[in-house]
């Protein structure tokens, strides 16, 4: 009887405030998924080990009094500043070239930046590790006039190398974030200034840039966060040179001793987390103010700036940038994949490919990685759509929390997230899930939610809020409305899934700690081969991965076209092409479009 009454009460409450209740449910899930692992890190800093250890403050004290900790913190800040600031300037220049001028090779710039962002950092770091190898890297061999076994002049395993590679990746990332605001900017001011006699450069610096400044600062902060939490590039290029940043310091506590020092790793993570959280709060505040959103589509029809005599030199510089950023590293990897050993000048063949493709264990790694990354990405896209849809049902604090929570794990580098999850799982009744596919996929899902959120938010913003009301008026349920949302954003969701899939396929930090033993993921296999000196194998694995991604991208494109045909070309909520880029680049709300 009592049970029936309770059930009736629950049903009544649910029907009275369904939107609020949905938001509460989603918020609870968000706390469990995104907040709990971070709290677990705090917890584990005061435990000797997650495996039934003891309470102690020793680890925190050791870390706070260790010179290496502060040196790593300083290195992190230095690396972020040295790579992000120049990258920002380059990204702004390219954004202007793309959106304002009659520059040549615009497609090349967009393609280069997209490749830079989509290439998993582990592969990019390895590519540069080979390219800038001081004895046999192509750059040095060319610089020495072809001498094969010389020394230098450039050593990629150095501060200069670390900054260069981090800066190149940051350039791509920032370009893709900036191009949206640049292309959507209100150009009436520009027209007015032009009529008043201002030249284009003065016009841009005096009127346009200040208008874009909030967007630029927002992107700068996000990029700084990404730079500070970067793990792969500093691991491959910094650690061999003795340069430790906070994420690699965390890793060294887990990796470079007779037994893992979880407490110490967690204590360093807290410093990292504090730094990143402060930056994220800054970015959120900037975003939250929203006074700088003077965008419109009106000015996009303005004539492009004529580069005149600078058009050709700029085109040459563009090509050089693309060569350095993408072509050379990829060429080095392809050459290495064909060589019998790294540094060989003859004996090129497809032997590495036939050996790997003939090895069932390797095929299994690709299949398993595709399964884990594919399901993690799909789960993230679905979860983000549901969260954003629920958030839109009702304004208020819950909406703000649900929106913000999707970005929260952006401040949790993979290692930190993995430590948090290990602590949580081993303290729960689900201890046996440690080392299983499910826990790995959960960790990957959590880690990719911020990217999925950015990939989807643009398309979600274009779906009118009236849709929900219309469905309800027509007698449809919330679930039906959600189904309609999924159908409408399918093309953008596919783009977002592909991006998340590629990034997850190359994720290294989380699988390093959470991979099911005996079932390696691709990035870990590549890392092991690289560390064991099997460079050609690592390079071949990368080339095969690129081929895999191309095939999957082809399938996604076909699916999108099939969807487009079914829906017809007049679908109002489909993502405009180049849809994927625009989606990832800007954050839009139903009312206005906001720069990041």
């Amino acid at each position: 009887m009592a049970r029936n009454e309770t059930a009736t009460w629950v049903r009544r409450q649910w029907s009275l405030r369904p939107a609020r209740n949905l938001q509460i449910a989603i918020a609870v899930v968000a706390v469990l998924l995104f907040v709990a692992p971070l709290l677990a890190v705090l917890f584990s800093a005061f435990r000797t080990t997650p495996f039934g250890g003891e309470w102690t403050g020793d680890a925190v004290r050791d870390v706070l009094t260790a010179g290496d900790t502060w040196s790593a913190l300083w290195n992190s800040v230095l690396l972020a500043l040295a790579s992000v600031i120049p990258a920002m300037l380059i990204a702004i220049v390219f954004s202007v070239l793309i959106t304002r001028t009659n520059a040549l090779f615009k497609w090349l710039i967009v393609a280069t930046m997209a490749i830079l962002v989509a290439t998993p950092p582990v592969f990019y770091a390895i590519a540069w590790g080979l390219l800038g190898n001081r004895t046999v890297g192509i750059i040095n061999v060319i610089a020495r006039g072809g001498e094969q076994w010389g020394d230098g002049p450039f050593n990629i395993e150095s501060w200069a190398g670390l900054i260069l590679v981090s800066g190149l990746r940051a350039t791509g990332f920032m370009f893709l974030l900036l191009i949206g605001p640049f292309s959507q900017m209100d150009r009436s001011l520009e027209e007015a200034a032009r009529v008043s006699g201002a030249n284009p450069i003065r016009n841009f610096l005096g009127t346009q840039l200040p208008t874009l400044m909030p967007a630029i600062v927002g992107v700068l902060i996000i990029s700084t966060i990404v730079s500070i939490e970067a793990f792969d590039v500093p691991l491959f290029l910094g650690v061999p040179a003795g340069i430790y940043v906070l994420p690699t310091e965390v890793f060294s506590y887990l990796n470079d001793a007779r037994q893992p020092m979880y407490g110490h790793a967690a204590a360093v993570s807290i410093i990292l987390l504090t730094l990143l959280l402060a930056l994220l709060i800054g970015e959120r505040r900037l975003y939250g103010r929203r006074q700088f959103t003077t965008m419109s589509g009106k000015g996009t029809r303005s004539a492009a700036w004529q580069l005149g005599k600078w058009r050709l030199p700029i085109a040459v510089l563009t090509v050089i940038f693309c060569m350095v950023a993408v072509v050379l590293p990829v060429a080095q990897l392809v050459m290495s994949s064909l060589a019998p050993y790294f540094g060989a000048t003859s004996g090129y063949s497809l032997a590495n490919f036939s050996a790997l493709l003939g090895d069932w264990n390797v095929i299994r790694i690709y299949l398993y990685t595709a399964l884990v990354a594919g399901s993690g990405a799909a789960l993230a896209i679905v979860a983000v759509v549901v969260m954003q849809w629920v958030a839109r049902l009702r304004p208020g604090r819950l909406r703000t929390f649900i929106d913000s929570s999707q970005m929260l794990t952006m401040v949790a580098p993979g290692l930190l997230l993995a430590i948090g999850l290990v602590t949580l799982v081993l303290a729960s009744p689900f201890a046996r899930s440690y080392g299983t596919y499910w826990l790995l996929m959960l960790a990957l899902f959590i880690s990719i939610v911020p990217l999925a959120s950015r990939a989807i938010s643009g398309a979600m913003a274009q779906i009118p809020t009236e849709l929900e009301e219309a469905t309800r008026v027509s007698g449809g349920s919330h679930l039906r409305a959600l189904g309609t949302v999924f159908r409408l954003i399918a093309p953008s969701a596919l783009n977002g899934w592909l991006l998340c899939f590629v990034v997850l396929s190359g994720t290294l930090a989380i699988p390093l700690l959470l991979s099911p033993r005996g079932q390696t993921l691709l990035a870990v296999r590549v890392y092991e081969n690289y560390l064991n000196g099997n460079i050609t194998v690592a390079a071949t694995l990368f080339v095969l991965f690129v081929l895999e991604v191309l095939v999957i991208a082809g399938v996604v494109e076909v699916l999108k076209r099939l969807l487009g045909r079914r829906r017809g070309s007049s679908a109002t909520t489909s993502t405009p092409e180049p849809g994927a880029d625009a989606d990832v680049l800007t954050h839009k709300s139903p009312e206005k479009e906001y720069a990041l």
Binding site: W149, A257, V425, L426, L513, G533
Partner: protein
Amino acid sequence: MKARHLLALGLGASLVLAGCGGSTPTPDDAGVIGGGGDNQSPAPDTNDGDSDLIVDPEAERITEEQAEYLTELYEAALDEGGNLVIYSGLAEDMDGVFDLFEEMFPGLSITAESLRGAPLMQALQAEQESGNHVADVLQNPDAQRYVFQLGDFSQPYEVQTLKVPDRLANSEDQIIDPEFRYSTAFLGFFGLGTFLPRLEEAGGMPESFADLGDPRFEGLVGFADPTIPGPSQGALLYLLASGGLDEDSLRGIANNSVVKGDHGQTIAGLMQGEFAFQFAAPVSAVVLAAEQGAPVEFSVFPTDNPLVTHKHVLLDGAPNENAGKLYLEFLNLFSAQQRIAEIGFIPLDEDASDPDAPWTSMEAAGVNEIVAYDVIDQAHEEFMPLIEDAFAR
């Protein structure tokens, strides 16, 4: 505390031995041959001498009874699922041996994962804590740490096909743990890796490890970070403990060294000619690189070469226990010993050594004794501060 642990282990092992001595192993309910209480003395079932044996006892230099036992293990391993998981510090180097195992025992496969140091400890701890066991066998030169010091992740198993060579009779406890918690099927040298195109620049080969401290080798000695557990650290401790290095030569070597982050990166550095010599190069890695065509060479000095015992442990809770036991037996078969020599290790069976590679022969390399792990462990306490000081980053 430690003594109590050892006493308890010894008592437990004695009880197991007493309870099971001389019993005839048959597959138990779980399909485990020689498992559980039968681990120490799985005398083979000999009631079917004409049965098809999975290995040829004559060719593999084992008895027919042992061949029958291997056949039983093989059948039980197939019933378990057939996939053996090995944690090894040298997974890539062991590929040839794994391939031979899979050829010899159709239907069985090996998944090997490179794990050493802290990540290995993390994996073993997590499996023990969560009860989600994955690995069956551990291959590690410092396996005693995972048996006696950092926890006990082993289950005792007496390998039937393992014979201690006469010349190592004084080091028997390094080959077979008295409580059967680890066994060693082969040894290996840490020697000198040389990148041949830069040999001239170095002005010739050094005469000993200590000689690498000579100023003429400045910037020419590749070194994996010895503050991290691994071959470099182990070799330094071995040499310092055995008198092959003193403090001055250690500091000289540190001054001459190009320190890389990890052992594997140092091997890669050698293959790419970043330095002329690699200190304490594991033989298998350099031999493999040379086979791939890299202009590198492995060599050992006339004396004072660090010798490593490649210990194997059957892990507690191994999900493929019979496959694990079969692998430990397999390593002592003559064809496996030959394959081990091809990789560059020292097989315990002297006949299996490679005449063209003196570092694979105990006789040619003058190996008569193995420095006990407790001596090395003692050296760790004594010399690590010195090493850390000399190689401070």
